[in-house]
């Protein structure tokens, strides 16, 4: 366990020692914090409301397209709308950037020349692999929590409403990253190329999202008179069951954020099981590999 901790800690040090990590981290965090600080919001005419005046439109679930805004709305709704934007930003752009920045951790450690040095030390192999994996996962968890808590804190200071649900929602986003990063690690281990690892993980991400959408039409597909449609649909449904449920988790994150609660926890357990299985297979393969 000590070796695992060393690799987790070193992953943070390694990531923070790279200027690119700091630059990208700031590029993500600063705009979000600026939005929270600079949004033109003031107390509304009635308790529990805020007045927002914007010369342009932001997403407020209102039909009609872009137009200037000058209206009062419940403070909870305002805070959750901003949090939706922040969580959406972190779950999309944040995950993509985190994959790019951390994809090289394992290939660098286990690349030619470094693997021999690291693996000749008295550390079990699983600690190297899982140390790098959890290093990146905890780094993303820490960074995303800092951003969401900072935004939530600023909004709390300005409106008096603190949304703890945003934190819960970010945990679900982190599960998506953890699932995708397990693929990044496996692809990085096999190919020893960080580029291939990150693009492979992005492809898995797109595939998972696509399968999630196809799943909603599965009853129609299964009832199709054409055999090839039914076979393809069956394969897609099988993959949906096995692969991480990234799309469902994104939906779940929004449901949590808006206080609708988690009516279905299946995507969480399915994704966790899929990730654990992939990690176990990766470590087994790593154990058998010659360096």
């Amino acid at each position: 366990m000590r070796a695992l901790g060393i690799f987790v800690l070193d992953s943070w040090v390694d990531a923070l020692a790279r200027k690119a990590s700091l630059v990208v981290g700031l590029l993500i965090a600063v705009p979000l914090l600026l939005i929270a600080v600079a949004l033109p919001v003031e107390p509304g005419s009635t308790p529990g409301t805020v007045r927002i005046t914007l010369p342009w439109m932001i997403f407020l679930e209102e039909p009609g397209g872009p137009r200037p805004i000058d209206r009062e709305l419940p403070v909870e709704r305002f805070v959750r709308t901003v949090n939706t934007f922040v969580v959406g930003f972190v779950s999309g752009w944040g995950i993509l950037m985190a994959l790019f920045l951390t994809a090289g951790l394992l290939p660098r450690t286990l690349g030619r020349g470094q693997a021999e040095i690291v693996l000749s030390k008295p550390v079990p192999r699983w600690s190297v692999y899982l140390g790098r994996y959890f290093g990146a996962v905890t780094l993303f968890l820490g960074a995303s929590l800092v951003v969401i808590l900072a935004v939530a804190g600023i909004l709390w200071g300005r409106t008096g409403f603190f949304s703890a649900r945003a934190v819960l929602s970010v945990l679900l986003v982190n599960l998506v990253f953890a699932a995708l990063y397990a693929w990044t690690c496996l692809l990085g281990l096999v190919s020893e190329r960080s580029g291939l690892a990150v693009w492979g993980a992005v492809l898995v991400w797109l595939l998972c999202g696509f399968l999630g959408r196809v799943h909603t039409f599965y009853p129609d597909i299964a009832a199709s008179p054409k055999l090839w449609v039914r076979v393809l649909g069956g394969v897609g449904e099988a993959l949906y069951r096995v692969l991480p449920r990234t799309g469902d988790l994104a939906d779940a994150a929004l449901e949590v954020l808006w206080g609708r609660g988690l009516g279905w926890t299946e995507p969480i357990w399915a994704t966790a099981l899929s990730t654990l299985t992939l990690l176990s297979l990766s470590v087994l393969w790593f154990y058998r590999r010659d360096y």
Binding site: R2, A3, I6, D10, V13, D14, A17, R18, R108, G111, R112, G113, Q114, A115, E116, I117, V118, L119, S120, K121, P122, V123, P124, R288, D290, Y291
Partner: protein, 249 residues
């Protein structure tokens, strides 16, 4: 107990797309404490594979490769072993001290011990002035010195060195030679793989000549060089071996 013990080690690399390569065909050798043992052989002889078997980096198909009485796959066996690979790499964006401290922590050293060790080894390897530079700014020679420094972390009882003087200038080679002789006097068992015959001849107590995964000859430097120079012996053994086993390789 021998510091290093290799018994009938056989290793064949099998790739899905690559042809099978028999890297080791029943190699046996022993290295005692306070002994420098040289492994000689042309490229592809199986020298590096043998060293990697001792460190658990490569798993033998059969036979035993033990360090300090424990099989190489056992992490405890590697606790007192320093290894310098032929091709080594360090993260270019890190500096020498954090690199050494990281490797020292993997050996179980505390943070203070790791820093002290790192500072001492950087001084010993002539890297003190470059300690603030990033590794990517190091020359090949400086990287070789840094790699040697990481192999010496934790005062190992067994040193396994693959081409230790590669990329070093004559002064660096002499420094390494003196260092190895001092470590030998302190009781460290040292296994060196090298192409440089003069280097092996000067510092090794015993030498093994490896070719196509077979150990062709083993003995003290005096025994092997009684009739002809090491270079002549090296060439004649390879020619004879290639004629005998060439078709099986």
């Amino acid at each position: 107990m021998a510091a290093i013990e290799v018994r009938n080690v056989v290793k064949t690399y099998r790739g899905l797309w690559a042809p099978r390569v028999q890297a080791l065909r029943g190699v046996s050798l022993m290295v005692q404490e306070g002994e420098i043992y040289g492994l000689l052989g042309p490229n592809g002889a199986g020298k590096t594979t043998l060293l990697k078997c001792l460190l658990g980096l490569v798993r033998p198909d059969s036979g035993e490769a033990k360090v300090l009485g424990l099989p190489g796959e056992d992490p405890q066996a590697r606790k007192f072993v320093g290894y310098l690979p032929e091709d080594h790499a360090f993260p270019g964006h890190r500096r020498a001290v954090p690199v050494l401290c990281f490797h020292a922590s993997l050996l179980g050293l505390s943070r203070t011990e790791a820093r002290d060790h790192a500072a001492k080894l950087l001084e010993q390897m002539g890297l003190s002035e470059k300690r603030r530079a990033k590794v990517k700014a190091y020359s090949k020679g400086l990287r070789q010195r840094l790699a040697l420094a990481q192999a010496l972390l934790g005062q190992p009882k067994v040193l396994i060195l693959d081409e230790p003087t590669a990329n070093l200038d004559p002064l660096g080679r002499k420094e390494v030679k003196d260092l190895l002789l001092r470590l030998k006097a302190e009781g460290t068992a040292i296994l060196i793989s090298s192409h440089v015959l003069t280097e092996i001849e000067r510092i090794c107590d015993r030498v093994a000549i490896l070719h196509q995964g077979r150990l062709l000859q083993e003995g003290t430097v005096e025994e092997l060089t009684a009739e002809k120079s090491l270079e002549d012996l090296f060439v004649s053994l390879f020619q004879a071996s290639s004629n005998t086993y060439g078709s099986q390789a």
